[in-house]
């Protein structure tokens, strides 16, 4: 490990002052030398780090949040409910229960005597008031400590009210955000298989790992439907309990955002024999591939593939001329990527290349070894790969590598702007769809508008005073 560090990032050591314990999570690709690649990841963050990561609860909350006809009740002190109140922009075409904030708001006495009764009463009140199709109960940190028997409360309420009431074991400290994804998936697993599969065609899929931010799931759904494929359930974008309950009737699971939904796809494969494929809807290349890959699995209906080709042709033709304009302006510009999941970085790599940009920094909060190995294959020479980074590292790399753009989430945005580089939110706060062919166009436009904005000329680093 020591040797690798010397070879990999040794030269940056002094200028950057990376914490020793962090060095194993940083890698710089070099040519002309045989580089060992052994980036450390899947580690919990070091105590005392200014990490950009969140917790188990956060993972569960983001995955289940878009289910719009269920109530989501956060069992714990008020904060966890307050901070996750309608911050994700996952849109619904109908009910919007998910956009409200429900909390048991535990007080000191509840912590001492337990919060089960309060949870029970809250659930009953809420279900009576809102008549939801189901309820998700999120455990927060202290629930794991005070020992509330959430399962028992959920069972009791489910029986009394006749709707599914699912505990989500998402105590913040019990792992990383990924463990939260798993907890969310096991709550979904409890629903799947409880509905009727009547009327589901052989040519059907579930869309997994698409959360309908800015209406993205609608775009993807429409492509598949145009191909003649029935979409049984989207999980969880614009999600509905009834659709989830019957989703085991679909012939195929199409999984995006590998981190959050792979567990679910795997479990559905085991239990219901539904095969799955991994896709990405970002960028022309990956978007087209995700239509072709699905079509290829229905070979007895060649018209599905024909329609997929038509869609790809029509859509790319529609956006190609504008894309050329962006490309000529952006060619040679450099991007830094720091996002939640590593899978997303692969697509971003390709999408950025489509507009002529190179990637100088690529990192994620929760990537695993395979992800990073694959990332390394895609990288150009000199590209830095980081796992679970912090603002000091990010700023230093953005400046040293002279990036023109940072792609990240809410906490990275102001850092980019302070440094005087463009920014694109590829996280919860995207305001326009970035998925699908139109999404690639939107992405290119957003990147173009941010990178080429005249405001950067006033930044001291770019020549302003």
């Amino acid at each position: 490990m020591e040797l690798l560090i010397e070879k990999g990032v040794g030269s940056m050591k002094e200028e950057i002052g990376i914490l020793e314990a962090r060095q194993s999570q940083i890698f710089e690709k070099r040519s002309g030398e045989e580089q060992q690649f052994d980036i450390a990841c899947d580690k919990t963050s070091l105590s005392g780090s200014v990490s950009q990561r969140a917790c188990v609860f956060c993972g569960s909350r983001v995955v289940l949040y878009p289910v719009a006809d269920a109530i989501h009740i956060v069992h714990g002190p008020i904060g966890c409910a307050a901070y996750t109140w309608d911050i994700r922009g996952a849109v619904s075409s109908g009910p919007e229960l998910h956009r409200l904030s429900f909390s048991t708001d535990l007080q000191e006495m509840d912590v001492i005597y337990g919060g089960e009764k309060k949870l029970y009463r809250s659930l009953v009140e809420l279900i009576d008031q809102y008549q939801p199709k189901a309820a998700f109960i999120y455990s927060t940190c202290i629930i794991g400590l005070i020992g509330d028997d959430i399962e028992a409360v959920c069972k009791k309420v489910a029986k009394e009210k006749g709707i599914p009431v699912m505990p989500v074991h998402s105590e913040g400290f019990k792992g990383t955000k990924k463990d939260g994804y798993k907890a969310a998936c096991s709550a979904l697993m409890k629903l799947i298989g409880t509905g009727s599969t009547e009327g589901i065609s052989k040519y059907s899929i579930n869309i997994l790992g698409e959360f309908n931010l800015a209406g993205e799931a609608w775009i993807i759904r429409e492509y598949y439907e145009r191909m003649g494929i029935q979409v049984v359930a989207t999980m969880t974008g614009d999600g509905r309990i009834d659709a989830i309950r019957r989703s085991h009737g679909a012939s195929l699971n199409v999984v995006q955002c590998s981190g959050s939904m792979t567990t679910l796809a795997r479990e559905m494969e085991e239990k219901y024999g539904i095969p799955c494929i991994r896709v990405s809807y970002f960028g022309f290349e990956d978007m087209s591939k995700s239509l072709y890959d699905v079509a290829a699995l229905f070979p007895d209906r060649p018209e599905i593939m024909e329609r997929a080709r038509e869609i790809v042709r029509d859509e790319i033709r529609k956006y190609y001329p504008e894309m050329q304009k962006f490309r000529s302006a952006l060619t040679g510009k450099k991007a830094a990527i720091y996002v939640g999941g590593a899978f997303k970085t692969f697509s971003l790599f390709k999408a950025l290349r489509t507009v002529g940009m190179s990637v100088v920094l690529a990192g994620s909060q929760t990537g695993n070894k395979d992800d990073y190995r694959r990332l390394k294959e895609m990288c150009d020479e000199g590209t830095v790969i980081v796992d679970d980074s912090n603002p000091v590292e990010l700023s230093k790399f953005v400046l040293e590598k002279e990036a023109d753009l940072l792609i990240g989430g809410v906490k990275e945005r102001p850092i980019a702007f302070k440094l005087g580089v463009g920014f694109c939110d590829h996280n919860h706060e995207r305001k326009i769809p970035l998925a699908g062919f139109v999404g690639m166009y939107n992405f290119a436009k957003e990147v173009y508008e941010s990178v080429m904005s005249p405001v950067w000329q006033f930044s001291p680093r770019k020549g302003g005073l």
């Binding site: 914490l19 314990a21 919990t44 963050s45 070091l46 105590s47 005392g48 200014v50 990490s51 990561r53 969140a54 917790c55 609860f57 956060c58 002190p77 008020i78 904060g79 409910a81 901070y83 996750t84 109140w85 911050i87 919007e96 956009r99 409200l100 904030s101 429900f102 909390s103 048991t104 708001d105 535990l106 007080q107 000191e108 509840d110 912590v111 009463r121 809250s122 009140e125 809102y130 940190c141 202290i142 794991g144 400590l145 005070i146 913040g172 400290f173 792992g175 603002p391 700023s395 809410v410 906490k411 945005r413 102001p414 850092i415 702007f417 302070k418 005087g420 930044s459 680093r461 302003g464």
Partner: protein, 459 residues
């Protein structure tokens, strides 16, 4: 209609909060600690807490917000978080090199029973705190009080752990800022300078959370009360606490530790509260109020009188935090408006008492704070007795949209507008800004709804 499920009939709920009008203690502690120069807030709990607080503050300020976390794991929650905090302190000083680490607890570390005083003492005994550096702390359990309590607790921690009395009094006055914006703190400093009073303001987030674009990311921006200033607070001739809930506890602690006498005034929002602030400060420092301030006051009164017909009798619903709500309610009454419904998620006897005094002029008002005082209740009240104006943080926009009520954003958090960090709401100038905003939404509404023949050019 996002809130279409809200019923008109108000029923006492048992232990359920719907759309809270508060959040938890630690974020307040984090915000307060950012007002100390060279200080890195540290969240002793799970990683998510720190991430949520930083994200919320970032959304409110559009600024980078730096804070570290103990990153609790299952092990820590079984064996206690001492080891995590000790290694965190080492990591932070060696990597991020702050002058001060301000540790606050969370529901998790409080429930485990971590004793921050004992752990920081151990860190000091073990030599983990470099010479000339500090680790301060505040206990901020999320299941007690609200974000306002957390702010007050951290400000108290700052006062208690830094103030020293040298035995020699200094000709300066401490001003303890209640939870207010960087722009407000800047305005307090400006007003004090205008009065000619030397003050130590703490905490002070101006030049921290309203930092200029420099092409650099300053991990520790230039603002914040310095350690030297904080130490000197024990020698100040007195303290002035701006707000009975978020500032007074620190003043009490300072009095206890250094015998610095104090006076508490309402946060200077609106005419009356600003008058009291100016008079109290002038008296404490033994200075006369200069003409320039009298003129500022005159300008506010001028607009109040010029526009009085637009305010009179207008019904208002407001929600937010105690130290803002108290003077704002008074200001609305001074304008002839009717504060009909008032909600705050923050509990507190001092708050209730002060509100009762102010609401003597408004016996019709619905007021509730603490448990059960949430946005759902506020909405129900509004359905029963409609209002002409809603004032509160960004979360009010759902109610404003569903009920089609003019809405002025004020308080924390504001996630969908800018301005709060740059333009003050305190002082006479701040009063003008509030009036401008209120009049703006009233007149926009009038223009929007006016029939063509009644669509007026001059208003």
């Amino acid at each position: 209609m996002l809130l279409r499920h809200t019923t008109k009939e108000v029923k006492e709920r048992e232990g359920l909060t719907i759309n809270p009008a508060k959040t938890c203690q630690p974020i307040g502690a984090m915000y307060a600690a950012l007002g100390v120069h060279g200080c890195l807030p540290h969240s002793h709990g799970s990683q998510g807490c720190c991430s949520y607080h930083r994200s919320t503050l970032t959304r409110h300020y559009k600024e980078p917000v730096m804070a570290a976390t103990s990153s609790f794991t299952e092990g820590a929650s079984v064996f206690g978080g001492q080891a995590n905090l000790l290694s965190a302190i080492e990591t932070i000083f060696s990597v991020y090199d702050p002058d001060i680490i301000a540790v606050h607890s969370t529901c998790l570390s409080e429930t485990i029973g971590d004793d921050l005083q004992q752990i920081t003492k151990k860190a000091s005994d073990d030599g983990k705190i470099p010479e000339g550096k500090y680790v301060i702390y505040a206990s901020t359990p999320s299941f007690v009080g609200s974000h306002v309590t957390g702010y007050a607790n951290m400000v108290t921690g700052i006062a208690e752990q830094f103030a020293e009395s040298s035995g020699e009094k200094k000709n300066q006055v401490n001003i303890i800022a209640g939870w207010m914006e960087p722009s407000d703190m800047r305005e307090i400093k400006r007003l004090s300078a205008e009065l000619g009073v030397k003050i130590v303001l703490f905490p002070d987030t101006s030049d921290v959370l309203d930092a200029p674009q420099t092409g650099k990311h300053e991990f520790y921006p230039k603002g914040g009360t310095t350690v030297e200033e904080l130490k000197s607070t024990g020698d100040s001739k007195c303290s002035l606490a701006l707000g009975c809930m978020s500032a007074e506890p620190a003043a009490i602690a300072l009095e206890k530790k250094c015998k610095t006498p104090f006076e508490t005034v309402d946060m200077p929002i609106g005419l009356g509260a600003t008058d009291r602030f100016i008079m109290t400060l002038a008296k404490a420092a033994g200075v006369a109020v200069p003409d320039s301030i009298t003129a500022e006051r005159g300008r506010l009164v001028d607009v109040m009188t010029d526009m009085e017909q637009y305010f009179h009798g207008k019904k208002v619903a407001l929600f937010g935090d105690p130290d803002q709500i108290i003077p704002l309610t008074e200001f609305l009454l001074d304008l002839g408006m009717k504060p009909m419904h008032i909600v705050s998620g923050t509990p507190g006897l001092r708050f209730e008492k002060r509100m009762r005094e102010i609401l003597e002029r408004a016996p019709y008002a619905n007021f509730r704070n603490g448990m059960g005082a949430d946005m759902f209740l506020l909405h129900q009240w509004i359905k029963n007795e409609p209002v002409d104006l809603l004032i509160g943080n960004t979360y009010g926009k759902y109610i404003a949209r569903d009920e089609d009520i003019p809405f002025v954003r004020f308080g924390f958090p504001i996630l969908d507008r800018i301005g709060h960090s740059y333009f003050p709401s305190v002082g006479y100038t701040g009063g003008l800004r509030l009036l401008e905003k209120i009049l703006g939404v009233f007149m926009d509404r009038q223009d929007r709804d006016a029939l063509e023949e009644k669509f007026e050019l001059v208003m």
